[in-house]
């Protein structure tokens, strides 16, 4: 009886439709991730993995000064890029959501469109702008000024490049959240004595905090793993953690160490996301869990 009930139940139908993709993700994403966790405890010798369980890889990373430097460098870079993106994206997303009217869709798509050109070509384009013989510096020298050293092959260039790459995600996340925000609540806030800034802090930001957190996560994670951007914009000393990681899978073939670095990267990113989402209190987010037609 119970089985028959289940067979016709909503649970089964939902599962039937969503299980294939879920299994795909589990098998082809989670499983590989699990394997690098395993490999991180192994050893590489002459390009083969040897199941010699040890913590050496982690110890190496966490005690060698070079590795730690890169780690902290990436961390600092990611935090800075995330924060700057956050501050810049809010007014932009707010404007599109509140004042965009029927142009909202175009405006949002325009922010998202560059994303599809692919990392490499966007970074190339950036390089052409910022590099020592890039447009900016050529422009400056044409009007008699000295080229901006700050902009070429530096961490600032990398940061700018990373913001360039990932800010559309933040804008989109906040924008989508604002779509379900009742702007009339701000009328109520203002009547009750809140100045525009106060109203933003007391009403707008809390009710869109989840969207903001999602945006932060979507920017932090790829930024922390960046390889191409620092390689092409960062110059000789511009390498970040991601580059060192990628290096392990190049000619040295030190896959075990690379795995450990990967696990560490994933852990730190997850920690960041965890901390950020810890600040979310569902009661205080305006979340009702309702979907149309229920």
């Amino acid at each position: 009886m119970a089985v028959k009930q289940f067979l016709h139940s909503k649970d089964l139908k939902a599962l039937a439709l969503s299980l294939p993709g879920a299994l795909f993700i589990i098998f082809f994403l989670f499983l590989p991730l699990a394997t690098i966790v395993i490999y991180s405890f192994w050893r590489t010798e002459s390009y083969t993995m040897i199941a010699d369980w040890n913590l050496n890889n982690y110890l190496t990373i966490l005690t060698t000064k070079t590795y730690l430097t890169f780690l902290f460098r990436s961390l600092a870079m990611s935090l800075a890029v995330s924060f700057i993106s956050l501050v810049y994206s809010w007014p932009v997303a707010y404007y599109i959501a509140k004042y965009g009217g029927r142009y909202r869709l175009i405006l949002t798509m325009l922010t998202a469109a560059p994303f599809f050109t692919g990392i490499l070509l966007r970074v190339t384009a950036m390089q052409q702008i910022l590099g020592p013989i890039g447009v900016v510096n050529m422009f400056l020298s044409n009007i008699g000024l000295k080229p901006l050293h700050l902009l070429m092959y530096s961490h600032y260039a990398t940061a700018l490049g990373l913001i360039y790459l990932w800010i559309p995600f933040m804008v989109l996340a906040i924008y989508l959240s604002l779509l379900t925000f009742d702007f009339k609540l701000l009328d109520a806030a203002m009547i009750n004595g809140a100045s525009p800034l106060r109203a933003f802090w007391e009403v707008t930001l809390p009710l869109n905090w989840i969207g903001t957190c999602i945006g932060l996560a979507l920017v932090f994670i790829p930024t922390f793993a960046a390889t191409i951007t620092p390689k092409f914009l960062g110059g000789v000393n511009g390498a970040l953690y991601g580059n060192i990681l990628a290096h392990q899978f190049g000619s040295t073939g030190t896959w075990a160490l690379g795995s450990a670095m990967g696990v560490l990267m994933f852990t730190i990113s997850s920690l960041f996301v965890f901390i950020v989402f810890k600040t979310v209190n569902l009661n205080r987010s305006g979340y009702t869990g309702q979907i149309a037609g229920e």
Partner: protein, 272 residues
């Protein structure tokens, strides 16, 4: 009159300025590259010396045609399963209320939280050591699919949250079988979303570097070719390549947008 208005419009103007600056920031590099791809004096192209030499060089690049073909295959064969999986999942999860819903949605979105680099190296090792198939197109396709399922899922989800499933129930009351319901009622309403997610997956996989790179070995794709030549300094052929790809992407998005305008779909756009 009133300072009420002054304050409000000052804030508004500020926001517009920031928005415009953002667009300039996002598009200037791409537009400049497009411009640059047609001139000989790429470093300071004013006044421009028009030429098509870079496009000729691009076509002449060894591996170009192979790379184009492979990128296309990766794009196509990633988009198909990604779209299929995610469409089925979104319909299943939204139509039928189940306690697995929250967990499933999280599962489908989880690839977004794994950076491309990690997906690349983990699938590389998994395929090489466990599955025994490295350096094949299929491994790149699979790896891209895992990431693109998530994007696909979100695109379709954004549209379908607005779909009223009671329409389907009504159709069934009037005698339609589940298959008929899907074909006659659901699909006609949501097909632009499906198309949109297909395009998104295709473009992402087509242009992908980090995931594909680790899984392809020596197999060329457009991004890996670009990567290869970039390591030897800027090659203007890449500007031509970028322009071509931009044109394709732009056309695809414009086409989709046009469909949306004339069709019934609004991606997260709520008419007020």
């Amino acid at each position: 009159m009133a300072s009420i208005n002054h304050q409000a419009s000052a804030l508004k103007t500020g926001q517009v300025v920031l928005l415009v600056l953002l667009y300039i920031f996002l598009y200037f590099p791409l537009l400049f590259i497009t411009y640059d791809s047609f001139v000989h004096n790429i470093i300071w192209p004013f006044p421009p010396e028009w030429t098509l030499e870079w496009y000729q060089k691009l076509l002449g690049m060894s591996d170009f045609h192979a790379g184009l073909k492979n990128s296309f295959y990766i794009g196509l064969f990633t988009a198909i399963p990604a779209t299929l999986f995610s469409t089925a999942a979104v319909i299943g999860l939204l139509k039928y209320r189940t306690r697995w819903r929250g967990g499933m949605i999280l599962l489908y979105i989880s690839p977004l939280f794994v950076p491309g680099l990690l997906i690349g190296i983990s699938t590389l090792m998994f395929n090489a050591n466990v599955m025994g198939m490295s350096g094949k197109l299929i491994s790149a396709i699979i790896a891209n699919t895992t990431e693109d399922i998530a994007f696909s899922f979100l695109v379709i989800l954004a549209q379908l949250v607005r779909y009223d499933w009671r329409m389907d129930e009504a159709a069934m009351v009037f005698g339609a079988t589940p298959a008929q319901v899907f074909w006659e009622v659901t699909l006609p309403t949501i097909w632009p979303a499906i198309l949109g997610s297909f395009l998104v997956s295709f473009i992402l996989a087509f242009n992908n570097l980090e995931i594909s790179y680790y899984n392809l070995g020596a197999i060329p794709t457009l991004p890996t070719i670009a990567w290869g030549s970039l390591r030897h300094g800027i090659k203007p052929e890449l500007f031509a390549l970028a322009t071509v790809i931009n044109m394709l992407v732009f056309t695809a998005i414009a086409g989709l947008f046009f469909l949306i305008q004339t069709g019934m779909v609004r991606f997260g756009y709520r008419g007020e």
